[in-house]
């Protein structure tokens, strides 16, 4: 399976299942995507994420569910090498950033206040 295809499958999984990527402002979505997808990547690489603050811990619970979901729903994730996982997660982050922020048609994303 090509990397692009893998990324599309994971993107679809996030879009159908998760809510964290749809906070109401662009800056907020950036934080969410960085926090949750960053920790998901760390976990899939077998490393220990930093969960020392309530904010990071909150990202971690979404990330943990995501990483577990990826591994159970798509067994090929378990067979990938670390380098490929890193490339895949970077590509996934780019896509989620595009769909929810840079390519988003939501005109409220740039409103200053909540």
């Amino acid at each position: 399976m090509e990397m692009k295809e893998r990324i599309a499958i994971l993107e679809n999984y996030i879009m159908q299942r998760c809510l964290w990527q749809f906070h109401s402002r662009a800056w907020d979505r950036e934080n969410q995507n960085n926090g949750i997808l960053g920790i998901t990547k760390t976990m899939l690489l077998g490393e220990q994420p930093d969960i020392s603050t309530p904010e990071l811990k909150c990202y971690w619970v979404d990330a943990k569910c995501l990483a577990d979901g990826f591994k159970t729903k798509f067994p090929w994730v378990n067979e990938m090498g670390k380098e490929d996982i890193a490339v895949m997660m970077d590509g996934l982050k780019e896509r989620i950033d595009y769909v929810t922020i840079h390519g988003s048609l939501n005109e409220e994303l740039t409103v200053k206040l909540y």
Binding site: S24, K57, N106
Partner: protein, 522 residues
């Protein structure tokens, strides 16, 4: 994803970008309905006003409060008691509603004096209630009554009384969503941080954006309590006024309806550093994952308890859900709620009940709600923002759904053209949250689609000749032809009790002892 133009709205160019059909391989960057815009002149909207959003949706579910509208009688009377947000104090807030009954003379000469008199009368009439919310309406806003000043005077004159003023007049926003926003911000600005809660557990949350429709919130708080988590406040279903003043002390904000209540979670995060965790309380799979997320935030002991609850609930209720799913498979539904259910349910109802969501709509949703909803629904679904009645009729004729999941007003319209509707605002026989609740929803959907009355109602009795000995079929005659013979048994139809909420009240829970914490208030 092409924008969809309704025939009936061709003369309304402003409606051009309010509906889209999700095409193959397309995503939310291809097209997105506009949302949260002023209603277009010439279209008849189903929206409510901002006052309605503030009072009837968010304020009034608070249970131990005199809810008073400062304005004409009609503002408070309309929609009173149609919401079914029950409470465990004998539904005080549903039984009584209060209005100052503003008249022409008050508009001319001012209504502050009369407002003050009304407040005193209400507190005198209910000496056991010492909390009040005061809602501005169009009339009191336009004449400029200073409700805050009156509230302060009364609080001075009646020690022990606390009053919250909500300045969200009907014209203050595009629809009810303007009121949701205003009351969220007013509450955090004026009331959060003014009460210190009694902390009973090591783990504490606010459960936000659930209005306890037929007990939804009580089902969820039972799960949290069984997991050892203290729910400091419920915003606002079955919520207590003083508990909600203590929201700043929770470790985590667990958010359901982001449309109506994300504002307060966002502000709590900015001002007090409390994280926001969005969850889904509906559907087996998403609910199970949501409970696990909340549990994981707190630790392994919580996780063990959550797992036990999930295992027990799934084992008990899954066979019954499956019984209905077999019979609902392939049925087409329109998911037309007010706001958040379009994205809470869009995917999971297809996955777990086998139905096909052919359309989603929202009256007052923002573009963010459509992003979530369209991302979750399948190809071919028609998404509509703030549809008018003619557009909804046209959509039903085009899509030929088997059931419309919506509120009373559009629901009654659907019934007139022979399509059953399920009330997902006030519910038919909820609660619909929780594992058992999801089965109740499946049961109600099944009953709506297969009710024999739908066939009988379709017979044209205006003609002289119509058969009187045909046309009647029982529910199972209608629902079972496609079900394999060996699975025709009925023992897995819903076996729960009519009232599943009252038994939860007064339950005792074990909480892990709280640990001393550094002052969290900044």
């Amino acid at each position: 994803m092409p924008y969809h133009t309704f025939e009936c709205s061709k003369m309304l160019p402003d409606r051009e970008k309010h509906a889209v059909i999700k095409g193959p391989g397309e995503d939310i960057t291809s097209a997105l309905p506009l949302g949260n815009l002023n209603t277009v002149p010439g279209t008849i909207t189903e929206r409510g006003c901002a006052y309605c959003g503030a009072k009837h949706v968010i304020g009034t579910p608070m249970k131990d409060v005199i809810h008073m509208s400062h304005g004409p009688m009609g503002c408070t009377y309309d929609t009173w008691q149609t919401k079914r947000y029950i409470s465990d104090n004998d539904n005080y807030q549903l039984k009584y509603t209060f209005a100052t009954d503003m008249k022409e003379k008050h508009v001319v000469f001012g209504a502050e004096k009369m407002l003050k008199q009304n407040i005193h009368e209400a507190f005198d009439a209910f000496p056991n209630i010492n909390r009040m919310t005061l809602y501005q309406t169009c009339a009191s806003a336009l004449i400029g009554d200073d409700m805050d000043a009156i509230a302060k005077q009364v609080m001075k004159e009646r020690p022990g009384v606390d009053i919250f003023v909500c300045n969200a007049p009907g014209f203050g926003g595009t629809s009810q969503t303007g009121g949701h926003h205003k009351i969220n911000i007013a509450w955090i600005n004026n009331k959060v941080g003014t009460v210190e809660p009694v902390i009973k557990s090591k783990y504490t949350i606010n459960y936000v954006g659930d209005y306890n429709i037929q007990g939804d919130c009580e089902i969820m708080t039972d799960f949290f309590n069984r997991m050892g988590i203290q729910v400091i406040s419920m915003f606002t279903g079955n919520g207590s006024y003083d508990d909600l003043r203590a929201m700043h002390r929770a470790d985590l904000n667990v958010l359901e309806c982001a449309r109506s209540a994300e504002y307060i979670c966002n502000e709590l995060r900015v001002r007090y550093g409390t994280p926001r965790l969005d969850i889904d309380g509906f559907g087996f799979d998403l609910l199970a994952e949501s409970l696990m997320k909340v549990a994981m935030f707190f630790g392994d002991d919580c996780v063990e308890k959550a797992k036990a609850i999930i295992d027990e609930e799934v084992a008990r209720w899954k066979p019954e859900l499956d019984w209905y799913a077999k019979r609902l498979k392939g049925k087409k539904i329109c998911l037309w709620p007010g706001g958040s259910k379009l994205w809470h349910w869009a995917h999971v109802i297809e996955e777990e009940m086998g139905v096909k969501v052919v359309s989603v709509y929202s009256k007052f949703g923002h573009q963010g709600d459509f992003e979530k909803g369209i991302a979750r629904c399948s190809e071919g679904a028609l998404a509509i923002d703030d549809p008018n009645e003619l557009e909804a009729l046209e959509a039903m004729k085009m899509l030929k759904p088997d059931c419309i999941l919506t509120g009373m007003r559009p629901g009654e319209v659907a019934k007139k053209i022979g399509i059953p509707y399920l009330n997902i605002h006030a519910y038919h026989n909820g609660p619909y949250k929780g594992f058992e609740g999801w089965v109740r929803l499946a049961r109600d959907l099944y009953n709506a689609i297969y009710s024999p009355v739908m066939n009988l109602a379709a017979i044209d009795i205006s003609k002289d000749d119509f058969d009187t000995d045909t046309g009647f079929k029982t529910r199972t005659m209608l629902s079972d032809p496609g079900v394999p013979r060996e699975e025709l048994h009925t023992e897995n139809m819903y076996t729960g009790k009519m009232d599943i909420v009252t038994p939860l009240r007064g339950k005792k829970y074990d909480f892990p002892a709280p640990e001393p914490k550094a002052d969290a208030v900044v």
